[in-house]
Every structure is written in C-alpha cells, then in structure tokens.
C-alpha cells in the first residue's frame, strides 16, 4: 500500500490542474468540467484520510459531497441553458454586461 502523503500529492496535482482549467476556460461547460476535477480531488482527500485514520467518516462525507456535486452540476446546467437562451452564447464573459 501507499503512504498518505503520496495520495495527498496526487490530490494537490489534480486540484492545481482543475484550477488552471477554471481560470483558462471561458465557456461555462468547460468551467463545469474543470470543477468536476477539483471535486474529485477533494473526494480523493476524503477517502485517503479516511483510509489512513481508520474511520468511516471520510467515506460517508465523500458520498455526501458526491451527491451534492451531482446536484450542483444539474443546477448549473439548467442555469447555463437558460443563459444560452437569453444571450445566444455560453461564454460567461458576457456576464459583465449584466453588472448592475
């Protein structure tokens, strides 16, 4: 088996890649996909810590986070489709036009 630090470094790497994706993407779907990578990195943290400290709590919380990620994705997709119907684009840079 592997040490906890190795899994945490993998999680850090995935988190950095996801942050890069969120910053570099302009369309909403790309941002959502990058956010899924970050959520999976956090799930990996939960599972690794739970496995290391011999507790069920991490896996339980990871399951809750997983379901919440699904709900977040569904709500974001609904908002994105409504945004596309209104603006004709999925580029979130057009949101600056709605700055009050």
């Amino acid at each position: 088996m592997v040490a906890l630090e190795d899994v945490l470094f993998l999680s850090i790497s995935l988190f950095a890649i996801g942050i890069y994706g969120i910053i570099s993407k302009r369309n909403g779907l790309g941002i959502l996909v990058s956010a899924e990578i970050i959520i999976n990195a956090s799930l990996l943290n939960f599972v690794a810590a739970s496995s290391s400290f011999l507790s069920f709590s991490g896996v339980s919380y990871a399951l809750l986070v997983l379901v919440m990620a699904v709900l977040e994705a569904v709500a974001f997709m609904g908002l994105l489709i409504a945004y596309y119907r209104k603006t004709g684009s999925v580029s979130l840079s057009k949101l600056r036009n709605y700055r009050g």
Binding site: M1, V2, F9, A16, Y20, L29, V33, E36, L44
Partner: protein
C-alpha cells in the same frame, strides 16, 4: 517497490494525464470523453484505497449521470467557437506542469496504509449517523430539481 505501488503510480499518472487532457482539449466533446476515462480511473483509485462502495457510486453517478448530462448539454449548444480560451492565462500551464512534477518527485517508497473498509455494515453506519444529513440532502435535491424544471420552463 511492490506491485501495489506500481499500480498506484500507474493509476496516478493516468489520472494526471487525463486531467491535463480534459483541461487543455480544444473541443468540448473531447473533454467529455477524457472526463469519462478520468472518472473510471478515479473509481479505480477509490477501489484501490478499499472504498469499494464509493468507487461504484462514483462510476454510477458520474459516468451515468453527469457525463451524460454534459453530453446532452453540448448537443444543445451551437457549433463554432464555444471552446474559446482565455489566452492571457495560458501562462499558467507551467504551474500545472510544476504541480505534476512535484507529485512525481515526492512519491517515495511505500509506507503502511491499512484500510479495513468493506461493504458490511457501511449502510447501517451511514444511516445511523447521517440520517438527518441524508434527509436534508434529499430535500435539497428535490428543490434543485424543481428549480431546474422551473428555470427551463420560464421561456416556454
């Protein structure tokens, strides 16, 4: 290094490469396909860490739900330049590469990581300790579903 460590290294490298492909692909369809493989490898990593239930849930929920939802969402979008990128932020690619190299440099000889997880008793533990949370989660899910239906039906 034993064969378990080689397995961990293999899964980790595939995960990082697939994550880089997801974030750097020019076409969204390719990103979704790479995300499909990323989720499968992440489920493999969960199963490797003895969280079998979570790995199976990840496969079912993500690959059966979110990836399909994203594919349907992409099919609703127009052709053309929906994959535009912020060029000025492309200088952050070295940061991601540095993170990957940091991970590869810090992986060392395996330590002791024991995992007693099994499917037996997990459901009882979950619902005894997190019953209230699950009820709140269900209410939140129903609210999200109804609000999504409302948002999609506003224009109609």
């Amino acid at each position: 290094m034993d064969i378990a460590t080689y397995g961990f290294l293999g899964i980790s490298i595939i995960l990082i490469v697939l994550a880089l492909l997801v974030t750097t692909s020019k076409k969204l369809v390719h990103s979704i396909i790479f995300l499909f493989g990323f989720i499968i490898m992440m489920a493999a990593m969960f199963i490797y860490l003895d969280a079998v239930f979570l790995g199976i849930a990840e496969l079912i929920i993500y690959n059966g739900g979110i990836v399909l939802l994203l594919a349907i969402g992409i099919s609703l979008m127009p052709d053309g330049n929906i994959d535009s990128k912020n060029i000025k932020y492309l200088v952050m690619i070295p940061i991601a590469v540095t993170a990957v190299l940091l991970f590869l440099a810090m992986v060392h000889a395996p330590g002791a990581l024991t995992s007693p997880f099994a499917l037996s008793g997990f459901g009882v533990y979950l619902f005894q300790n997190y019953g209230i949370l699950l009820i709140i989660l269900g209410i939140t899910g129903v609210t999200a579903l109804l609000s999504t239906i409302y948002i999609l039906g506003v224009d109609n």
